[in-house]
């Protein structure tokens, strides 16, 4: 009995989030429109309590629950805490925007919390089935979130695209999982790893199964050649949902990658290394080159995301613990930068005119100098120019790559990064070097601006003192691998 309690204790955050998500959905029926801020407050409270519950669990040793389906280790702790903070910031940034568009209701928060629940399950799963369940929960919630603005044709189109492609990718992943189960007779990742290592299994069939798994992971990450959904979904959703899709599911995808490839299938490292390398290089290339041609800001950011995912995959390709540490650090900085950039876009949009085209930012330095300055910091950070934290992210990944004497991938990476700098500079150019059409200073929402200042300014401050974040990421990975 006490065993059950202690296992439930491990799952307390998930249980709490699930309950609150359902509660919010119910309460939404009884709360009137003008009191919707209550729902917002309740969601933030949910995240806070979930964070506290997670923090109360120890992470020095990996702990297991429910016949080893559920694992809680330092990696899970780190990824979960960052996903709570990320979602909380997403809520903060999106509140005003949703209020304007009359979308601030329980569905948004409830669906987001269910998506978070899916992410939490994926982060903590050691079992193929639990992983798939989390994945489906996440995906279904995201499908609905993308279509939240249901009168907009583009949102519906994006949702259908993502749904169809997502279903296909999930099916492929499931096929790969079934092959692994067939080989090893178990759904548990560690057992599968052991069986593959110790017994003689036909390696070609095994790699066949591995390929499907990698396909599923790559789709969720948005890596080439499975990246087609990314620009359309980013453009079609409303900006708060874009912000959410570009940040929170990445934790789950990265967790899935680490658990599958590093903890389960690490025996097949030589096989999946090559796959990751090709995907990394192609992602960096396609992402950076295509982004140059974009005129809409959200599509440009979508392709920029693909290129960042390429860098993250480059860190994973190395196959060592150092590589995973570098990639997790990169992921964290990417999340901070993405939150800042989408937050700025939301801040500058209002109910009459949202920032859709890059040219909408023209001359921002004259109308809103402080916002332009923040955007400039974010752009330099995305490009990887010191002294922002974005530089250290790229630096860490390049360092682990060169440590393995793989100089050619590093050279390709920097060439792609250089190409990528062009479109980040273009944003700065539009803001600073061109004259604005409007003469009036746009008023922006001050509380959100303050949070954004901390967010974007943090990129600069962390760039001068990056040690803490680096050490935390290293610790998170070191404790579990």
């Amino acid at each position: 009995m006490s065993n059950l309690i202690s296992q439930l204790n491990l799952l307390a955050p998930e249980i709490f989030v699930a309950l609150m998500a359902m509660l919010i959905l119910l309460l939404d029926l009884f709360v009137q429109d003008k009191n919707k801020h209550f729902i917002y407050g309740l969601s933030q409270l949910t995240l806070l309590v979930a964070g506290l519950l997670t923090a109360s669990l120890g992470f020095s040793e990996p702990q297991f629950a429910f016949k080893d389906m559920f694992i809680f280790d330092s990696l899970a702790m780190f990824l979960k805490m960052t996903s709570y903070i990320t979602l909380s910031v997403v809520f903060i940034y999106s509140r005003n925007y949703l209020l304007d568009k009359k979308l601030l209701n329980g569905e948004y928060f409830s669906l987001s919390l269910f998506a978070l629940l899916g992410v939490m399950l994926m982060i903590s799963s050691k079992n193929l089935l639990l992983m798939y369940m989390g994945l489906e929960l996440l995906s279904l919630s995201l499908y609905a979130l993308i279509a939240l603005n249901r009168d907009d044709k583009k949102s519906n189109e994006a949702a259908i695209k993502y749904f169809v492609l997502g279903a296909l990718a999930s099916g492929l992943l499931l096929y790969g999982m079934s092959m692994l189960y067939g080989f090893s007779g178990s759904l548990d990742l560690y057992t599968i790893g052991n069986v593959i290592q110790t017994q003689e299994i036909n390696s070609e069939l095994l790699v066949f199964g591995l390929v499907f798994i990698v396909v599923g992971i790559a789709f969720k990450l948005g890596a080439v050649p499975f990246q087609m959904w990314v620009p359309d979904v980013y453009e079609g959703s409303i900006t708060p949902v874009t912000m959410m899709i570009s940040t929170v599911p990445k934790f789950a995808a990265v967790a899935m990658l680490i658990r599958f490839l590093f903890q389960g299938l690490d025996y097949l490292v030589v096989d999946w290394q090559q796959m990751l390398l090709i995907m990394a290089i192609l992602s960096m290339a396609v992402g950076n080159i295509t982004a140059i041609a974009q005129k809409k800001i959200k599509r440009m950011l979508a392709y920029s995301t693909i290129s960042h995912i390429g860098f993250i995959l480059l860190g994973f390709y190395v196959g060592t613990i150092g590589g995973v540490q570098a990639s997790i650090f990169y992921l964290t900085t990417y999340i901070i930068m993405t939150l800042a950039v989408f937050g700025l876009i939301i801040l500058l949009s209002n109910s009459q005119k949202s920032i859709e085209f890059i040219d909408d930012l023209k001359g921002l330095s004259q109308t809103n100098p402080w916002e332009a300055f923040l955007m400039m910091i974010v752009m330099f950070s995305l490009a990887g120019i010191p002294p922002t934290i974005g530089f250290y992210a790229k630096f860490s990944v390049l360092q682990v790559v060169i440590n393995e004497e793989a100089v050619w991938p590093a050279l390709v990476a920097i060439i792609m990064a250089l190409i990528g700098m062009y479109y980040y500079l273009r944003i700065i150019r539009i803001m600073y070097f061109e004259k604005s059409d409007k003469k009036v200073k746009k008023k922006t929402f001050l509380p959100m601006l303050s949070v954004l200042t901390i967010n974007a300014g943090g990129l600069l401050v962390l760039g001068i003192f990056p040690k803490t974040l680096m050490s935390i990421s290293a610790l998170a990975v070191g404790g579990s691998l």
């Binding site: 330099f380 530089f391 630096f395 860490s396 600073y432 070097f433 050490s471």
Partner: protein, 621 residues
Amino acid sequence: MAKPDGGLIQETNLQYYAGAQIIYTSAPTTVYVFTFNTALSLGSSTSWNPFDADYTLNNFKIFTSPNAQTWTELTPASTDIDALSSGVNNAGQPVLVITALTPTPTSGSLFIVLNKTTGLVYGTIVTAVNNGGVDNLTLNQNLPAGGVANGTELSIRRINYVALFGALVSFIVTIPIYKNFNTTLSTFQFQEFHHWITPFNINYHLGVDGFSVPLILLTSFMTIMVILISYQSQKFKSASYYSAFLIMSGLMIGVFCALDSILYYIFWEAMLIPMFLIIGIWGGPNRIYATIKFFLYTVLGSLLMLIAFLYLYFKSGTFSIIDYYYLPISLEAQILIFLAFFMAFAVKIPMWPLHTWLPDAHVQAPTGGSVILAAIMLKLGGYSFIRFAMPISPDATLLLKPLMISLSLIAIVYIALVALIQKDMKKLIAYSSISHMGFVTLGLFLISPLAVEGAYIQMISHGFISAAMFICVGILYDQTHTREIKKYGGVINKMPLFTAFAVFFAMANAGLPGTSGFVGEFMVILGSMKENFWIAFIAATTLILGASYSLWLIKRVFYGDVGNAAVAKLSDINSREFLILGVLASLIILVGVYPKIISDITNSSVLQFIELVSFSKAGIL
């Protein structure tokens, strides 16, 4: 200077470990020295473990000398040393610790440790132990970086004064570095060391040597000039304009005194941001093309340099530049590393054929931007060759020497011919800059004391002269808003005082003896004569070509009758402009007549540099 051990030290036994530095004294004997990293401990590399398990004091002899002339042996029996021990410092590197030493070593005193069984010698020199000047360097960087408060509500005059005050203070702070600099030492002085990013062993490590000090002074001085010259011409967002320059000056000083590769890289890249904004916001009509070209061109080279640093880190486990000087690297790797550095620095200098960004950048940049670009930024490339590319990969340097000399000669001659046909004044001076910087690279790659000294003096002198010429063009542009030569003619009739300065600067640009332009070029030509007659011959054609484009420019713009109505409306320079041009002219004459003030500072560093570049590393592996 007698060998302290009575003959035990033999050349063939000597082993280099990262952290060792060599001083050549004028005597034939050489002394091998390390530098102290922190007070009273020997810095060393991770590969150094000279003290094996059976280390006892009996295996070693230790000598010390305050001046490399008289040596005293330190023994535990005497009261000199309390203990000698090996340990591990904070960064996990093995160190030798000498405790309770009497007499207390002063800055500059030498230690030699001789291992009697292996015959290996390790030496070290005390630098800047708890020196009060240590904090000066950080102060220098951060002070200008404070910039000007971006108060656009302040009146223009107040902003001007605040900016000027900031620049003056940062210049005054750099003066103690010059005053307290010990010119006899070739090691890094005023060192400051803090652990910064420990997961990667990146440290906040600053220090100056003879090459850095004049350039740091030049940077802070030029910032004052730039702010003064922009008083009236920049009305649009002038507070941001001044703060960009002040921040950039801080970052450039950071480049000159960084002793950790990644810290250097961060300053190097970060410096691009203010320059990008200066050209892009306050520049000419085609500024966007020029500034993006400048940015992407420079970043490409820098990224390749980053790969080189990461490779060196992978080989050595440290990012410290001093450690890199003694890191053994194979010849193939050296060539690749040198080429990576070459890409970064050749874009900056700029060397032909990577020079095409400079004319565009100069033409489109505002006056202050051109001055900083020409006076300081170009020197960063030359300084970096001295600091990085050549000492870290000496074998590759010697191998690629003919190539580099050829590129320099092409820059000197071909670019001068291109300058001759220019129609825009600023473009002409830009090409003339590239041509003069060709002398710098020529002198550096001749690797003789005379040539390297000449190259360095040419860097400083070119800083003054090109700055002065760009300021002259800026003064004219402010009044007529055109830079085309044919729109001018007979300016002397309206601006005689200004013409006097302009002619003087053009003469200095051409290399008139008595001005600093001559000194550097002459020394390099002399140095190249020692190497090869034809190199000197080709280089010396600059005396003709330089004179031709400079004097022709003067003739077309200044002399003759008043050309057109625009020229007729010109008014002569005011007292502020007179001050700026006067100060620059005096400095040019000063360095031209008494170049010793610069060569005195750099002398020991030049000798040390040549020693480093002459030492072959490829064989040690």
